[in-house]
């Protein structure tokens, strides 16, 4: 896959690698590169290290911005061929390179991070030298930041694979050389995994292969380039949901036997005062409009996909007054399970299936915002835990329908 490699130091071996995937991040990439360098120098000065920018042949001089960033740690630039896009493709290049370098520990951070500190390198890296294979981040996030994680990716993957990884689709994590080998050898790959589905692909494979997973508390909130929470997330939602469904089909003999869930160990929990995350704004009118108009426009399709009882309850919820709207999580879990089953049975072309799931996801997000409005961060976390339990409780419904023809 790799098309371009610039390795001016001729690095052929490194114990620890920091990978920074990018596409057109010339204005942002220097900062995480500098922080990674400081972290590597301060905490891993004794170990051989390299910082790798795995890029999508950016045309905005990302390569130069990265290579020109002054660092003590040597750097390598990798790129896909011109025209080959996708974060997953960048990571695939990284997997191959870290195997070549015989790396023991790999840390990946986003190229547009503004809040990364050298401590992130330590906290994502140290557990990898202490027998863990996958390190997922734990951030303090604003309650409305990451609604795809909160309402779908976290509760669904937790119910399916039985492991509680609070941020399964984030861009920052650590993994061992051993897990890089598993990723490289995996025959499961798709267009969506090659794009924004890569994070859930990596987390799911780690859970499915039962490698040791730990969550590391990052201390500072994740602050990166702002994205519109609805329009800016469309491709991410599509890729993540489709990747989850693909992996469900592939791993159904495993997850059918998973019951409830287990926690993961936590690393780095005594870091002093917490920094509060910046607020995230949502226009709930857009969410309610998209939910109600979508429900109206696609009624026939919903009737074909959803269990009759779930469809009735959905129509009932849609009739609630806007100020008291609620999309019960038990119903949402069954709706998501119905869509996964429709995916497995090829009831609709995948693009269309996910397009008709979107209005319901907006409805759930609208309900989540209304319900959590008066809550503080801790209360919201407890609310999310309860949502996860509802997905776990509804799982026998999924298993029964999934395997019944």
């Amino acid at each position: 896959m790799k098309a371009v490699e610039d390795n001016p130091g001729g690095i052929s071996k490194a114990e620890i690698v920091v990978g920074i995937p990018s596409y057109n991040e010339a204005l942002s990439i220097s900062f995480p590169t500098q922080q990674a360098d400081k972290g590597l120098t301060k905490y891993y000065g004794e170990r051989s290290a390299v910082i790798i920018n795995c890029d999508n042949h950016s045309d905005d001089n990302t390569r130069q911005a990265f290579m020109d960033t002054p660092t003590k740690t040597p750097k390598i630039y990798l790129s896909t061929d011109n025209g080959i896009k996708g974060k997953g493709n960048n990571l695939k290049n990284l997997f191959a390179k870290v195997i070549e370098l015989s790396a023991k520990a790999v840390i990946v951070v986003d190229a547009d991070l503004k809040s990364i500190t050298p401590l992130w390198i330590r906290d994502l890296g140290n557990p990898l030298f202490d027998s863990y294979d996958f390190v997922a981040p734990l951030y303090v996030r604003h309650k409305y930041d990451g609604t795809l994680t909160t309402n779908l990716a976290y509760p669904l993957t937790r119910a399916l694979y039985g492991r509680r990884v609070r941020q399964p689709i984030n861009g920052d994590y650590g993994f061992s050389g051993n897990l890089a080998g598993i990723y490289t050898e995996s025959d499961i790959w798709s267009e969506t995994a090659a794009n924004f589905g890569i994070d859930i692909w990596m987390t799911t494979l780690a859970m499915r292969r039962r490698v040791s997973v730990i969550q590391s508390f990052m201390g500072k909130p994740k602050i990166h380039k702002p994205k519109d929470q609805i329009e800016g997330m469309l491709n991410v939602v599509r890729d993540v949901v489709e990747t989850i469904f693909q992996l469900m089909v592939r791993f159904d003999s495993f997850w059918k036997d998973v019951k409830w869930s287990r926690p993961t160990a936590v690393y780095g929990v005594s870091l002093g005062d917490l920094e509060l995350p910046p607020p995230v704004e949502f226009d709930v009118r857009i969410l309610s409009d998209r939910f109600l108009s979508g429900l109206h426009a696609h009624t026939d399709i919903y009737n074909a996909i959803l269990d009759r009882q779930n469809m009735n309850k959905l129509e009932e919820a849609a009739e609630l007054p806007a100020s008291g709207f609620e999309f019960p999580t038990g119903l949402w879990a069954k709706v998501v399970y119905d869509f996964a089953i429709a995916y497995k049975r090829n009831l609709l072309p995948t693009d269309q299936l996910i397009d008709v799931l979107l209005p319901l996801f907006y409805g759930k997000t609208w309900s989540f915002i209304l319900e959590t409005q008066p809550m503080n961060t801790q209360q919201v976390e407890e609310f999310i835990e309860d949502q996860c339990l509802q997905f776990e409780k509804a799982k026998p419904y999924l298993v029964e329908r999934w395997f019944s023809g």
Partner: protein, 122 residues
Amino acid sequence: MPKILIVDDEEGIRMLYSMELQDEGYEVITLPDGQGLLEEVEKQRPDCIILDIKMRDYNGLDLLQEIRKKHYDMPVILNSAYSSFKIDLKAVAADYYVVKSSDLGELKDKLKVALETKIPEQ
């Protein structure tokens, strides 16, 4: 018969939980604090640990971190008179957090779920 290890510095709690859980058909062993906890876990191999947080010389959250290092998948239920420790991120490593109450219903429910939890090997 599932074996439950109760770690609590209040003798009354240990006695109450022992009686109630034995009535439910569990085998119960107890420890008055964290001293020798890891050795006891190694020796007894309990199916679940019910762990107090605020003990005289020990902090259950720190003990939980120690347990997790050696027993990645050992079910542990944190059981405290205080709900405020829930905000401590160390509590994330527990299977469940149950606030102490004279009604042991929630504790028994969570214990049942913790014992039923299953993730197959590869």
